[in-house]
Symmetry: C2
Subunit: 338 residues, 2 copies
């Protein structure tokens, strides 16, 4: 039986159009079965646009949707049949092996936590984000699941990040670094100083290389960077903001003269190449690690290409048995120490 | 009498060559008197390269220098005559009205704190960094002076940031935002939730617009962004890292084919224009606000152009009486509330 991925067809700025489109592409390209969750009429309308012959695409109907602005906790209580809830249920019941959601991150996270439960031993699930770098992509976690953290939690994040970097990103013995504001031991705030000591005491288990700084996120030299969810989220959005600014200013420069305009046109090919290197759409989505099941959370602005890649990530996480690997490493290093 | 700025001639990766060069340029361009602090022989050698006729450039000799790798606290205890110490002393004694230092940030900050003392009422001085944006530059603070903060401290940072944004950046009634991981009230970690309530209770005094996110740093829509020194430092370095990555990847793209190479050559003019818009060298340096005297801390990699601009910032801060304005606003809003 092929791996089946449940997809919240109603989540995201371009739902259901781009979500269904990406799901069809993924079904074709990755030979994966898809369960689309949402308004059946709308989903069928979208599906009718494509050749779906030979593809295994099911539909779970629901009329309820959690909107982007809603409080996740309240919305989940009120909308028991929300598309994100039923998407998660499909995995919880074993009908699908993984899920992809591009709607409200808070709702997707909360629904996954409540609906799937935590892996044995895992205290706090974590959002593991793949970051583009000057070399190959790396893992940054926590990207926003836990805005207040205890130092011990980052040891767990480091373990989950290592598994992700090894089995999904393909690094042999990836390096783990602690996000800090100075490289030397003893730098940082109270939180990172305490965290450093914990990670450093597990140096060999983690391949911990010490503190890293904001600029090290993009060199690609450290493949797993851990921090609390507040800092991780700020990093993510700061990087996004800096790149948006560059794009905006560059567009302004290209408009400044005829010469610049021509250079701008000639440069399109170069920028297409550059975009490929840093495209978050290629990355597809972030994994919520530590829950019983594979949950990929995509950007709200995801279009078909991003959704297709998110489904690929979910499929790979299932195939590579990422969760089994996490449980194994927990058993070996965390439970054994208890 | 002209304003005199003391400059640590021995601080920074390109000291004393680029420091002296920048100081001479500033003396000429901004009609400012300069006090160069460091090895007299080396400084004179550098000065001999330029036409300094009619310029008021003094030298304070010392052989001691605090190196980048040294622990600031230890180094300051051991090297009582370090160039940064004597640079600060020149301001403390009133011989100079401001200082510029491009050496160890920690040492410059500690020396300024100990040597100048705090402005009346100010509990924690703060590093106020000017950030380039898609519109005009904005103020981000704390950029690294206080890695652990209490929520109340950010009210003080907001006051100092407002004065900076008004008198140095030239905004009328600048907007103040709190760095957070969501825009709605109630978002964030324990620290930002508590801070939000404090800033919101001073909404009118501060022109507080609420939470902002990482991506808002670069839009230019909010002119003063406050956060703790850990988060601020991470933002600074993340933005730097993201831009370095783009530059690196773009250079790689330009090497990929003859076509790309030619486009690369043709693009030089466009990128010069872009660089001007986001150049941290033009910004010169960050102000350490809250100390009795004007202290500008520049990047360790500063060359002459950055030093010249740092001296301009110091001069402007003296002219605009930034410190008097801070004390006034403290008297009015903080002391009055005590």
């Amino acid at each position: 039986m092929p791996i089946r991925i449940a997809v919240d067809a109603m989540g995201g700025d371009y739902a259901p159009l781009e979500i269904v489109k990406g799901a069809v592409q993924a079904a074709r390209e990755y030979s994966v079965a898809i369960q689309l969750v949402g308004n059946e009429v709308q989903i069928k309308e979208e599906l009718a646009k494509y050749d779906t012959q030979g593809l295994d695409i099911g539909i779970t109907h629901t009329d309820e949707v959690i909107e982007m602005g809603e409080s996740p906790a309240k919305a989940l209580r009120a909308k028991k049949k929300a598309s994100i809830v039923l998407t998660v249920e499909s995995v919880a019941r074993g009908e699908s092996q993984g899920l992809v959601a591009a709607g409200s991150t808070g709702a997707a996270m909360a629904a996954s936590l409540f609906g799937l439960g935590r892996l044995p031993g895992v205290k706090r699930p974590v959002i593991c984000c793949t970051m583009p770098t000057a070399k190959n992509p790396i893992a940054l976690l926590d990207a926003g699941a836990n805005s207040d953290c205890e130092p011990e939690m980052l040891y767990e994040f480091a373990i989950m990040g290592r598994i992700f970097a090894e089995y999904i990103l393909g690094y042999e013995n990836p390096k783990v670094g602690l996000m800090n504001i100075g490289e030397e031991e003893g730098k940082g705030n109270e939180f990172t100083k305490a965290t450093f000591n914990i990670l450093n005491s597990k140096k060999e288990v983690l391949n911990f290389i010490g503190n890293v700084e904001g600029r090290d996120v993009f060199t690609g030299d450290c493949q797993v960077i851990v921090c609390d969810g507040f800092v991780g989220n700020v990093i993510l959005k700061t990087a996004e903001g800096a790149m948006t600014m560059i794009t905006k200013l560059l567009k302004q420069e290209y408009k400044k003269s005829l010469y610049n305009m021509i250079v701008g046109l000639l440069s399109k090919k170069v920028f297409t190449g550059l975009k490929k290197r840093i495209d978050h759409e290629k990355i597809g989505g972030a994994l919520l690690l530590g829950v019983k099941g594979i949950s990929v959370i995509s950007h709200g602005s995801s279009k078909a290409y991003a959704i297709k890649n998110a489904i690929r990530v979910a499929k790979e996480a299932v195939e590579k048995e990422v969760n089994d690997k996490i449980v194994e490493m927990y058993d070996q290093h965390i439970k054994a120490a208890d």
